[in-house]
Symmetry: C2
């Protein structure tokens, strides 16, 4: 079994980098906090005797050699970046659970035939650079390297520049590094395990998600002297669409979710009718047909609302991640681990996107979830129990051994 | 008559300070652009032989002496600050029309019994420091000096600090400077004169306005893994209230207007349900009872929406400016000027607030409007015709002479 106390303490130590007053974490991709987090992690890895490879997008591959040099590495891992007001477990857990597996094998003098690896994928959250899960996407051939390097944050800094700045632009070509399997441990970020009082989610796949950017163009005008009829208020149009987005999710209940998370209002002055609003829409559904009908409804709502409100608009899909089904063998390895260790578990589909979605294209892949309090994530109050985190690491150990041995 | 070309050229020269790519002006209160605008204006005033006084809030009083030193000054003026994406005429016009009156009297060697003054009031727009019309409010005893000096912008800089920074914190006690009358010339900022093809609005009063700040507190959560039921989405609640605000104006048609101009969404991440939204609501009505029933409806909407969306909230009124009726003598001086000069004119109530609203408490006051294209203001495309601007300056000259002479 893994060392629950060491795992917990490392998660807490990592959480000090970018800690927020409300007990959360702000370690946004390719900031100096991200650099510090990576430095600390790699220090632990080197102490554990691992080899480190870094690719051109800053993805980290930390290897514990196997006894059979011919075999591809059996990998696990997740990401170290966080939301701007994120929690202490999202991503970090999967990375440090992987390291804990390696430490446990070291402690017990156990060798594996396949090498074991822990991967850290750059810019999973998509908070600073869209789309999320960007560098795992490049690894899997979903996006070209140049596309990723050219992504800009709101200040106009490119991902490539930010990567150079923190000194994590590596030499290894993206995607050249092949994996024999990939398992990602993560907090659930939803309420299902907690509601069913289960410890392990055996994740069989991930729902699809599409992101859209919408710019609404009305006309700046004085709030006091401009009569109500004839106004072209971009924020009123945005309000109608925010409610339409929720309505579309409700029409596709119970599986669908849809959200406006990001909104910029311009000129954002108390006494000026807003002439320009930019917002992003995030829609998810476990089936491709669901995403299709939701998108059709969204396009219709945008058209109708903008016509009725005399608003011009620009609308584009900025991300499209199809629903993913994971590899049966990897799913069974996790399920078998949970069963063998006696942890209450269930099969489930992930609501959130994960690097594993992309990696599933190029390696047999699956995920395991552990519960988080209230299903809350992307929130500074995100919280998980040390025993659940240890249970997840144990299942990961069990599954990795099964995949790395035969 | 005034010199239409000189007036137009000065407006255009002033517009170069803070000019925006789209042809507007960004000369926000107490920024370096505001300092440059003040410097330029005072240079012109000194060339015209005027005396300059500056009070502790940076209000400027530019005097052309009269022949009777016992008499109070007959004043005009407006403001030099702009909206962040403002136009070239709002405020500036009334200031430079006042200077043009003085230049015209100089050119023609005409003396007046009363001194003539042009006033420039600090922070009229309220874009950087709320409330708007702040320094004229202090002049009139509506707000204490300390309140004004302590107002903060979004970066936490106080008005007092910003004023020191640009070197316009004067010596003269606020409100100590008495005015015998005050006339404010301004672009209409609404569509009425243009619609009726009239050149001069004789402004008999200003509608009342109330501003509110509302903070909606929900819960940050993951957009993908958080089911729709049970969400506490502050932006959805904000959207409902933005529509409710418009609905309240429509229930009080045709006189009422109501707008959400300012909105901050937090954490403003594509894949996080917004846990916190702050917005301001601007409601206006020509009668106090109208403002009362609108406020009651707003409070009810906030309560109902927040209860239904499981949102906590903080709600406060941050400005309350009662409807104002101007001085009959001043109104008649303007009307008589328009009539004498043969300009098509109408009596009207101002939709926008103006420094004149406050000054009306301490001196006989009125305003005159000239048309602006499409009634558009608080917009970079704000535009007015040189002939209309000159006509307004001529009427101002006529009215000031009438008040300054007898
Ligand atoms: N797991 C997680 O928070 N992923 C971010 C990408 C997403 O929005 O699903
Ligand atoms: N005239 C003008 O733009 N005033 C700003 C104050 C207001 O919002 O009415």
């Amino acid at each position: 079994c893994t060392n629950a106390r060491r795992l917990w303490q490392r998660i807490m130590t990592m959480a000090e980098i970018g800690e927020t007053p409300a007990g959360g974490c702000c370690r946004v991709a390719l900031t100096d906090e991200d650099r510090q987090g990576r430095d600390l992690f790699l220090e632990w890895c080197r102490e554990a005797g691992c080899e480190v490879r870094i690719d051109r997008l800053g993805n980290l591959f930390v290897r514990r050699p196997g006894t059979d040099p011919q075999r591809l590495p059996v990998a696990c891992g997740s990401h170290l970046d966080t939301q701007p007001r994120g929690g202490r477990f999202d991503g970090v857990y999967g990375v440090l659970a992987g390291l804990e597996v390696i430490e446990t094998l070291n402690d017990n003098g156990i060798r594996t035939r396949s090498p074991l690896e822990v991967c850290v994928w750059t810019n999973e959250e998509g908070a600073r650079f869209t789309p999320p899960m960007l560098a795992s996407g490049v690894h899997a051939g979903v996006y070209p390297l140049e596309y990723a390097l050219a992504r800009q944050d709101e200040a106009g800094i490119t991902l490539g520049e930010a990567l150079e700045e923190i000194g994590y632009a590596g030499e290894q070509a993206c995607g050249s590094h092949r994996l024999g399997a990939f398992l990602e441990a993560h907090i659930e970020q939803g309420p299902i395990l907690e509601r069913h009082r289960q410890t392990i989610g055996v994740v069989t796949g991930v729902q699809g998600s599409r992101w859209y950017r919408l710019t609404l163009l009305g006309q700046d005008a004085h709030t006091g002297s401009t009569p109500m009829p004839g106004r072209r208020d971009a924020l009123v149009a945005a309000a109608r669409l925010i409610l339409a987005v929720r309505g579309i999710a409700e029409e596709h209940a119970p599986e669908a979710v849809a959200t406006v998370g990001h909104l910029e209002n311009t000129p954002n002055s108390h006494n000026t009718i807003p002439g320009r609003v930019t917002l992003t829409i995030d829609m998810r559904h476990p089936r491709a047909e669901g995403l299709e009908t939701m998108e059709a409804a969204l396009r219709q709502a945008v058209e109708r609302t903008s016509a009725e409100e005399a608003i011009d608009y620009e609308f584009s899909r900025i991300m499209d991640t199809a629903p993913v089904g994971f590899d049966d063998g990897c799913v069974e390895a996790i399920e078998e681990g949970a069963r063998a260790l006696g942890h209450a578990h269930r099969r489930m589909v992930s609501g959130a996107g994960h690097d594993a979605c992309h990696i599933a294209r190029v390696a047999p892949t699956a995920m395991l979830f552990v519960p988080c309090a209230g299903g809350l994530s992307h929130n500074e109050a995100e919280s998980a129990e040390p025993e659940d985190l240890a249970a997840g690491a144990d299942v990961l150990l069990h599954a990795l051994l099964r995949l790395a041995e035969p």
